[in-house]
Symmetry: C2
Subunit: 401 residues, 2 copies
């Protein structure tokens, strides 16, 4: 991937020592160095055609992001379904599509007692005979869900204790189901390692990533909204993954001041959202930075034909262009138009193509960026104390009835 | 629908005269009083099974919002497809699903020369014989697309000149394709009229809507982000429609000061995004208001069974609850937890059920709210000057090659 900046700042190099020592404690950094053969071997034993992930938040978003990124240009032999809600309309709709007799269920919960996940699991267990051959459980070592799996002779993969949910896609959480549907997970981690190496091993660090993190942290009060304008539908779920990673990691009280800080992520898809959110970026309050993501090679030759439609001849200027050229020219046009305006910090990420290596790079790049910004904002990127109160109130309500 | 506020302000009643005179000029206000029989009669003549909308932004988002809201609980005899991009991966994917010989194409473009829409139309016209029986065109009177339609004997519906794209869902833009797939468009407009009447006819106006608009306008600099936390997947596309309406209408230079102002819309889906964005609302910068939307009656009885899973017995407290009860208890828990915090303005909208009347209400409510806030912020809600530059640059690029 190639990242072009259109803003400048002096990178905060002091943070490097903190990040290097954090790397000893926090687990996501080293996930890119795993041996994936265990997942690949296990995946070979799964013959079911429908792979059903039951999980929510960090247990689902990363897997969906990678699958969506790849599914248009890769022919997978198996289908992935993700159930990540208690919405009965969605559960019924998804269950109708799944061939239950030919399905493998991945029940994924870090704590092991996530209400949404266990609710759906209970329902599935009431209509399907769950056993060692059609179920895999992915959870923390020592969780109640692990005990349940052991009792039922169900295969368990552990999530390392020091890997948080939203940083867990490159652990068993993502690797196990992705291997099952045929994603090249070795190449995925190779992409992640690429970013790791360029940051940690290239004469110390990658200045560009550090520069970007420094800029975001320094301007957090001015540009409190960060827009990711991704030019292809393949990024739809990646955007959702980014929103969780960025929002849940960076929306915190500062460790030393206890002040509320936070950067608000917004995921946009081009060109569609040129007809929606773009006006707000251009003319609205100057509180937004923008990152445009493009795909250099769509590996698709769909072309606007050389036909001329009566009275629409003025649009014959489109003739002969590949749609992939049009979408990238649209991205470039928006970049140029935003560059002509003041106070809209902009950068462009270009990924080579929609393959596992590219999405591995992108994921690791954003995880590292998040970790760096969090350190500079003096917040803990890895907890989520704000969501506990809602869970407690729900338990009270459940117990009342 | 029922709207409960947890913040207070004195409604700005001075705006009422401005809105009442604006109603004489701006077309969306009176769309709810249309006779829909023309659309219903025309729809009866369409026998194709696949209805394909080719449009982008305001020509597509509202139709998708209504269809998604209804499709889980209504059995439509026809399928809706929406192509709203130049992304070749999506175009190929959608075209594969459509039965081209049994499809009716609705080509929708207000200007008549939208690049994305005409690109896709050109492609479709190269692989399907387009004629009066399998195509409907919806555009402004006098556009080049209208001339094209007349030349080819294709039925045209007009978009009133004084109805902007993002306010056009209750014009032919939405009504024509929705009638074709069997949506009760009379009930849709009845819902919209309900809000119209409660605002304009009930002893002058509905105070609650005016109060909410006043609060948002008065606090625009403090709470510059407005989150719509919708508790069901049925709202997924409604959220996207809201993001366009809010962002594109309210992201503007002020008429008198030329200052950049804007309120940033964020669409969230519960409970899924409790595991994503919620942490940022709770602990992040206090720059967000929240509106929770709930469905009172899901018309779905899916229930968590009375089974007990070994080692997960602590979650038997879920047993016997309908999933629809769980999701609404989750919404209520989040409302309670947010109410315990300071500086997070909150309101709750409860719609009765996922039917045409309810989505008609919701759409008109948000259109009216947007118009009111725009007036108070001293901006023109109905133009989008900021998106023109990108279009001009694109045309230059297209002409260069």
């Amino acid at each position: 991937m190639k990242n072009s900046f259109y803003f400048d700042t002096k990178p905060n190099e002091k943070i490097l020592e903190l990040i290097k020592s954090e790397r000893e404690e926090i687990g996501f950094y080293e996930l890119c160095h795993q041996d994936v053969s265990e997942y690949e071997e296990y995946a070979k034993t799964i013959t079911a055609q429908d792979i059903v992930v039951v999980g929510i938040g960090g247990s689902a978003l990363g897997t969906s992001a990678i699958y969506k990124f790849l599914k248009y240009t890769n022919q997978f032999s198996k289908k992935l379904y993700v159930i990540e809600t208690t919405d009965p309309l969605v559960i019924c709709d998804e269950m109708e599509k799944i061939d239950l007799a030919n399905a493998h269920f991945c029940i994924i919960s870090k704590s092991g007692t996530t209400v949404e996940t266990i609710s759906v699991y209970k329902y599935i267990a009431s209509i399907v005979d769950i056993h060692s051959k059609n179920c895999t459980i992915i959870t923390d070592e020592g969780s109640l869900l692990e005990s349940h799996a052991i009792h039922n002779d169900i295969k368990v993969f552990h999530i390392p204790h020091n890997v948080g949910g939203r940083f867990s896609v490159l652990s068993a959480v993502g690797l196990a189901p992705l291997a099952m549907i045929g994603v090249d997970i070795a190449s995925l981690l190779e992409g992640a390692r690429n970013i790791y190496d360029s940051f940690f091993n290239q004469e110390g660090y990658d200045t560009s990533l550090l520069k970007k993190a420094t800029y975001y942290a320094q301007t957090a009060n001015t540009y409190n909204i960060n827009c990711l304008f991704s030019y292809s539908e393949v990024f739809r779920e990646f955007n959702a993954w980014y929103v969780q990673l960025w929002g849940e990691s960076l929306g915190k009280k500062q460790l030393h001041s206890q002040l509320h800080v936070g950067l608000t992520p917004v995921g946009l898809i081009g060109p569609t959202d040129q007809h929606s959110f773009l006006q707000l970026i251009v003319d609205g309050k100057r509180d937004k930075s923008v990152t445009v993501i493009k795909i250099a090679n769509f590996e698709n030759s769909l072309t606007i034909p050389n036909n001329s439609l009566k009275d629409l001849e003025s649009l014959d200027i489109l003739n002969g262009y590949k749609f992939s050229e049009i979408i990238n020219m649209q991205a470039d046009s928006i970049v140029e138009s935003l560059l002509s305006l003041e106070h809209i910090p902009l950068d462009v990420i270009e990924v080579s193509q929609a393959d596992a290596h590219a999405i591995g790079e992108l994921i690791y790049y954003y995880e590292l960026l998040t970790a760096l910004v969090a350190r500079m904002l003096d917040i803990n990127a890895y907890d989520q104390p704000g969501v506990e109160m809602g869970k407690i109130i729900l338990k009270e309500k459940l117990n009342k009835k």
